[in-house]
């Protein structure tokens, strides 16, 4: 067999190469604006913080340029700091778990309900996002104290005989954290559910699986990666947050966010605050890497 070679003009070859180069370059060009923003607003400050964490802290000066591991050593040797890490991780894990459970239930409900209810539920879930975290905290201040809404509600329902205050308790901090992260968790999970063919649940029931079995065999495996994403976003949020646990929790609730603030503004120890922040950043990165690795290799089944 003979292969016919097509004779092309030299300009064709040149234009072809140009077109290929353009195709290779396009994704980078499209990514460029986002990349620049990420580098300028997140990359550089983090690097700056990293450098700051190695500076010296002498007397009342914010920092003295230099290089020392002292702050990191201090951080892991001082039980004040290690306890704070432990407290924060505990609180974050617990509230994230609770957030994901509630969010999952809510998302299943909205997914299964007819479309006419959908907008109402989504509207409800959007409400907390319209209010700033600080305003929400003020709201809780009306809710938790002795003369607050919760106390009156419990009293009038006959569950308690004396007014109670749940303000400045770890429970209040926990509720506050769940409330702040819930909408995000809900929307992440809903988007996952929306990608699932509801007929699959019918098929499962049709083949003899009772509801719980259908959940375990079909729904849960299909939403696993969504659950992990929702959990890790709640965890990342709660582990780094400062305002809600500080404003609602007891004075003894020393979270990482609170201690960083104290080192920075109270003790004027910028290098220490930076070192603590670096630990937080690395911790969050590890948490993300862990959830990533837990996700199945086949995250999408719509190949």
């Amino acid at each position: 067999m003979t292969v016919t070679t097509v004779k092309e003009s030299p300009s064709y070859e040149l234009n072809r190469r140009k077109a290929i180069r353009r195709k290779q370059l396009t994704p980078w060009l499209l990514m460029l604006p986002a990349l620049v923003i990420v580098l300028i607003f997140f990359g550089i400050p983090t690097l700056y913080m990293l450098r700051m964490s190695f500076n010296l802290h002498i007397g009342q000066r914010l920092y003295v340029p230099g290089f020392t591991f002292e702050h990191y050593v201090n951080l892991f040797a001082n039980p004040l700091f290690t306890n704070a890490i432990w407290t924060t991780v505990q609180l974050s894990l617990l509230s994230s778990l609770c957030t994901v459970l509630i969010g999952y239930g809510f998302a299943v409900l909205v997914w299964l309900k007819p479309a006419k209810w959908r907008l109402l539920f989504i509207g409800l879930a959007l409400c907390p996002l319209l209010i700033s975290e600080i305003a929400i905290i003020f709201g809780w201040w009306m809710f938790f104290p002795k003369n607050g809404l919760l106390s009156y509600a419990l009293l009038s329902s006959g569950l308690i005989t004396d007014k109670i205050s749940l303000m400045y308790t770890e429970f209040a901090a926990f509720v506050g954290l769940v409330y702040v992260t819930l909408p995000y968790c809900f929307f992440i999970l809903l988007s996952i559910f929306d990608g699932i063919d509801k007929r699959m649940l019918e098929a499962s029931a049709d083949l003899g699986a009772p509801p719980f079995m259908s959940f375990r065999e079909v729904l849960l495996p299909l939403t696993r990666s969504g659950l992990l994403v929702a959990f890790s976003q709640s965890f990342i949020w709660t582990i780094g947050t400062y305002a809600t646990p500080s404003a609602l929790g007891p004075d003894t609730l020393w979270t990482m966010g609170y201690l960083i603030q104290e080192q920075m503004l109270g003790k004027h120890n910028w290098p220490m605050a930076s070192a603590f922040s670096m630990v937080l950043v690395v911790g969050v990165a590890c948490a993300m890497a862990l959830t990533r690795s837990l996700m199945s290799k086949r995250t999408s089944f719509h190949v």
């Binding site: 499962s204 029931a205 049709d206 003899g208 079995m213 299909l222 089944f301």
Partner: protein
């Protein structure tokens, strides 16, 4: 003729389902004998899918009774009914392999492992998917997916199989191929089935009996031949097969169209006076020279001619009447020519 409940794999008795003010299923009674393949055929919104979903247990019954093998099951949830549905989308579990998908129903029925493997192998063989055990649904073509869905439902040997338009999402050649295969499987395994479709050729090709549905009711239930040749009413006639409708007014004098112009129509048996709709299948209308042998005749003008491969389709008009007729070769007539049409009395249906 009332069938004994015990004889029927499935028995619907005055089944009713409404959505708000819409009556989706309007007092349907239907019995499917063991090994029978019954098709629910109808346009969209005729209630055929609702009927199927009632049997599967995905919709609540408003009134009536559903029995499987003589036992009443309409109060049971889907997972306690001995039915298996093949969905239009297949609804395969994407996170499970082909073998795991097929195993699902057996696992729920707590089959011993060895017997399970035996059966899975056998049924994957039956649907010609040997060697695909470890693939994921995402790695299969549309036709292969529906074969897996078929195997997944067949493998549990349900009292009745429910097909919910399983082929309508596939392209034509695949549809024909799978249609033949379902027919072959039915001949081989003699399962009882209800098959929902809006495609009349599917209904004709596969069914023991066809139930033609319209507005939540069964208009006629009969063998495919009888539904085609002896339609119970105008709806069934027009829904099954191609047909031309000739609205004609018979009066004291000649026949006229709806505008009152006389048309050159002669019939063997003239119907009583009044407005009639005459229906003739395009394949049964004979043209030109062939027309002269028939007692029913009409002269019409050629509007345009379509070449369809096997036949030429002549689009004709006579006054306000419009019709088309298939002819195996060109008749030699051109657009604008007058042409004779003839047909047997048995090939015509008249409704008023």
């Amino acid at each position: 003729m009332k069938q004994l409940a015990g004889d029927a794999a499935l028995d619907l008795e005055s089944v009713r389902r409404t959505f708000g003010t819409v009556v989706a299923v309007d007092d349907i009674s239907l019995a499917v004998a063991r090994g029978e393949f019954v098709t629910l055929l109808g346009p969209s919104g005729s209630g055929k899918t609702s009927t199927l979903r009632l049997i599967g247990g995905f919709e609540e019954l408003d009134a009536g009774a559903i029995r499987i093998n003589g036992e009443r099951i309409d109060h049971l949830p889907p997972y306690q009914r001995d039915t298996a549905t093949i969905f239009q989308s297949g609804a395969l579990f994407p996170h499970k392999t082909v073998a795991e998908n097929v195993a699902y129903g057996l696992r729920m029925r707590k089959f011993p492992k060895s017997e399970m493997e035996e059966r899975i192998r056998r049924y994957l063989d039956i649907v010609r998917l040997k060697g695909f055990e470890d693939r994921y649904p995402g790695q299969l073509s549309g036709g292969q997916k529906q074969r897996v869905a078929l195997a997944r439902s067949l493998v549990v040997r349900p009292a009745i199989l429910l097909f919910d338009e399983p082929l309508s999402a596939l392209d034509l050649s695949l549809r024909l191929q799978l249609r033949a295969e379902i027919k072959r499987l039915h001949d081989e395994l003699a399962f009882s089935a209800i098959y929902v479709t809006h495609d009349q050729s599917e209904a004709m090709a596969m069914s023991t009996r066809v139930a033609v549905m319209n507005r939540g009711r069964i208009e006629q239930i009969d063998s495919p031949e009888r539904v085609f040749h002896e339609p119970a009413n105008e709806f069934v006639y027009t829904f099954i097969g191609e047909s031309c409708c000739l609205p004609v007014r018979f009066g004291s004098g000649a026949a006229t169209d709806k505008l009152g112009q006389p048309i050159d129509l002669s019939l063997e048996k003239k119907p009583s006076d009044g407005d009639w709709r005459l229906y003739i299948r395009p394949s049964r209308m004979k043209l030109a020279g062939e027309a002269t042998a028939f007692a029913n005749r009409l002269t019409a003008k050629v509007q345009f001619i379509e070449f369809l491969g096997d036949v030429y389709r002549y689009h004709l008009e006579a006054g306000a009447l419009e019709m088309f007729s298939d002819h195996p070769g060109p008749t030699g007539h051109n657009v604008g020519d007058m042409i004779d049409i003839g047909w047997k009395t048995g090939d015509m249906q008249a409704f008023r």
